[in-house]
Symmetry: C2
Subunit: 363 residues, 2 copies
C-alpha cells in the first residue's frame, strides 16, 4: 500500500493539528506571517524553499554576515534591501513590521543570543535543534520569550512529519500492543573542518546534532519521559577530527513504564536514521526515519488477522520544512502554543546532559 | 544479486574451515560420527533433521525421560532400542561404541551436569547456548572436557551460517571502512508457563536465551572483546509471567577500539533478530539475522564506485544445524579444536553476568 501526496498531507495535518483546527488546507490563510532568516547556510536554504510552498508564510528579511550572499538570496525571495540585516544592526529589526518571526539557523552556540535578541525585538522565534548548548541557555531563551510575550518553537521537524506521526498514531491506537523496546540511531561521517567539531560552537558531538533525533523519537514514540540513562562515548578515529567532541555515543534509556530504548549516534560512520518499535502484538520499522525525504514505514501486527504495512513516503524535500513553517505561522496567527515549545528543547538538553554524565563526559 | 544454494554452501565452508581444510564438500567423509541426542524437545528435532542432511554425522542414541517419545524418534532415525537412555542410566553410554558425541539440548540449568557426565563417559560434547546458568558451571564443564580429553563446542549456529559469515567477511575485508557502531536485538513474546520463565531452569530472562545472539554478534562482527557494559532490565507487563526473570534488557557495550554496540532483548515483544553495522565507508544490515532461515543481508559501501548488496539467503531450515553438526564431526574426525569451544560460551556467560550487574540485577 502506498499513499499519494494529498493523503499524506492530510495525515500530517490530522496528526498535527486535529485538536486545534480542522485540516489546515481547508482553511484559507488569514494572512502571511513574515520570517527573518538568521544564518544563511544549507538548512536555511531548505527552510526558505519550504516557506515558498506554504500559503501562510513568507520570507521577509535576511540576517547574515555576508552581504553579497544576502543580496543574492534577497533577490530570489523578493526581500527588499532595507530588510537585510547583519549581526550588528540586527536589533533594529524590532521596527520592521514585515517581520513577525525569526528562523534561527545559526551554529548551536549562537541560538540563545539570537533567540533572546529576537524576543526583545518582539519577534516570535522558530529555533533549530539543538535548542542551545546548555540547559542554562535554554532556560534563558524560554524566559526571554515569555517575558516578551512571543512564541518559541523548536524545529523538531520529525514531530510534524507524516511518517513519524503515523508511527506514533499506530502505537497510540494499540495496533502493535504494549510497546516493550525501541532501537534507534542517526549519524554520519563528518568532514574535517566543520564547525560542528568545535565544541564552543556545537556544544557537543553527534549526540547534540543528530543523536538528538533518536532521543526525541524515543520520547514521542513512547509518549513518556526518560527515567534513567546509561551511556558510553568513544573515539575510534584518532585522525584529528575528534579532539573536542566525541565520535560515537551509545546509550540506553529506561522509561517509567519499563519500555527501554537502545540508541547510537556517530560522526564517523554511515548511519541512516531509523527506529524500530517492538510491541506485544507487532512491530514498526521506520527506515529512513529522520532524512529530509524518502522515509519508509513498515509494520506487521496481529489483531483481526495479520496486517502488513509497507509505506514509502512520496513527499519530497522541503516538505518537512514547509510543514514546520505552516504550523508555526498557524500558531502565530491563531494565538496557539506550538507542540514543540522551548520546554521541549530544554527537556532534550537536560537528557543530553544526563547522557554525557552517564558516559562520564560533560556537555 | 542473489546466490544459489551451492554458492552459499561454498561460502559457509570457506568462511568456516578455509584455514584448516579445503572446502568440506570436496572431501569425502572418512566416517560418520555418531551423536546421542540429550533432550528431545523442539530444537533437538531440528538438529536431528539437520544431521540427516550431513554425510559425516548420524544420530546413534537418544536420551530422554519419555521412553515412548524416544521409541518413536528412534524408529525415525534407525536408532536401536538398546541405544535409548534415560537420565538415570545415561552414564552407561560410555560403553556404547556407536556414540562419539552428545548434543545437549536440555533446559539451560542441566547443560553443566550432562556435559560433565558425557565427558566422563568419554564422549565429545556439542552443547546448546547459553552454555550454562553460571560462570562457575561453565568453568567446570571446560575442566571436565579437558581432563577427559574430549572436545567441547557450544552451538553458536550463527558463527557457522553463511549470511552472518558474509557480514564478518565484508567487515574484515574493509569494505565498509572503519566500523563505528552496531545496533542489534533479538526477542519474542513468550507464552505463559514456559520453563524459560523459571529462573532455576533458565538462569535468566531473554538476555541468556536470545539476547545472547546480539551479544555474541557484537563480538564476532567487531572481532573484539567488550571493555564495558551499561544496561537496564525492566518489566512492563505485570501479568504474572515475569516474577523470576526480567522482561526486557537494554544494554550498550564499548569495545577497546571505541566501537560501540546498542542492543535490546525482550520476552514481551515481537522482535526479529537483526544487526546493523555502521562503518566509515558504508553499512551492513542483516535482518533477519538470527532466525533459522530467511536471513537477508543488505549493504551499501563506497570504494571504487558504490556497491549495493541485497542478498536473501535461500537456504532453508535445518541448514544451520546441518552445518554445525558437519563442522563438529569434522573437528572430531580430524582432531581439530572447534572455533566456538567452551571458552567462547564462558566468555558470553561472563559478559551476561556483567550486563546484569551493570543493570543492578544478578544472573
Amino acid at each position: 500500500m502506498t499513499w499519494n501526496r494529498r493523503e499524506f498531507a492530510k495525515l500530517g495535518a490530522l496528526g498535527l493539528a486535529a485538536r486545534v483546527v480542522s485540516p489546515l488546507s481547508a482553511q484559507p490563510a488569514q494572512r502571511q506571517s513574515g520570517y527573518a532568516i538568521i544564518g544563511l547556510g544549507r538548512i536555511a536554504a531548505i527552510f526558505m524553499a519550504g516557506i515558498r510552498n506554504t500559503t501562510n508564510s513568507k520570507v521577509t528579511a535576511l540576517v547574515s554576515g555576508h552581504r553579497d550572499k544576502a543580496l543574492r538570496i534577497a533577490a530570489q525571495y523578493g526581500v527588499p534591501e532595507r530588510s537585510i540585516y547583519n549581526y550588528e544592526n540586527f536589533d533594529s529589526i524590532a521596527s520592521n513590521q514585515s517581520v513577525d518571526a525569526v528562523y534561527v539557523a545559526l551554529p548551536n552556540s549562537m541560538h540563545a543570543e539570537y533567540t533572546i535578541r529576537a524576543a526583545k525585538a518582539g519577534k516570535h522565534v522558530l529555533c533549530e535543534k539543538p535548542m542551545a548548548t546548555s540547559v542554562a541557555d535554554c532556560e534563558s531563551m524560554i524566559a526571554a520569550c515569555k517575558s516578551a510575550g512571543v512564541k518559541l518553537m523548536i524545529a523538531y521537524r520529525c514531530q510534524y512529519e507524516p511518517t513519524n506521526l503515523k508511527a506514533v498514531s499506530l502505537i497510540r491506537s494499540g495496533a502493535i500492543g504494549q510497546v516493550q523496546a525501541i532501537e534507534s540511531a542517526f549519524g554520519f561521517n563528518i568532514a574535517r573542518g566543520e564547525w560542528r567539531l568545535v565544541k564552543k560552537m556545537s556544544g557537543g558531538g553527534p549526540l547534540v546534532d543528530v543523536g538528538i533525533y533518536a532521543l526525541n523519537a524515543s520520547r514521542y514514540l513512547t509518549g513518556e519521559e526518560p527515567e534513567n540513562f546509561a551511556a558510553f562515548t568513544s573515539v575510534v578515529d584518532h585522525d584529528g577530527r575528534f579532539t573536542q567532541v566525541e565520535e560515537n555515543v551509545s546509550w540506553t534509556t529506561r522509561f517509567p513504564s519499563g519500555i527501554v530504548a537502545a540508541c547510537n549516534t556517530t560522526y564517523g560512520g554511515q548511519m541512516t536514521g531509523f527506529f524500530k518499535v517492538h510491541g506485544s502484538k507487532g512491530w514498526i520499522d521506520v527506515d529512513p526515519a529522520f532524512n529530509y525525504d524518502g522515509l519508509r514505514l513498515r509494520a506487521l501486527y496481529t489483531g483481526n488477522g495479520i496486517t502488513r504495512l509497507d509505506e514509502p513516503n512520496p513527499a519530497r524535500n522541503p516538505y518537512q520544512f514547509q510543514a514546520e513553517a505552516e504550523y508555526f505561522s498557524h500558531c502565530i496567527q491563531n494565538g496557539l502554543e506550538p507542540k514543540t515549545p522551548g520546554e521541549e528543547g530544554l527537556r532534550d538538553m537536560r537528557y543530553i546532559a544526563e547522557i554525557y554524565r552517564a558516559a562520564g563526559s560533560s556537555l
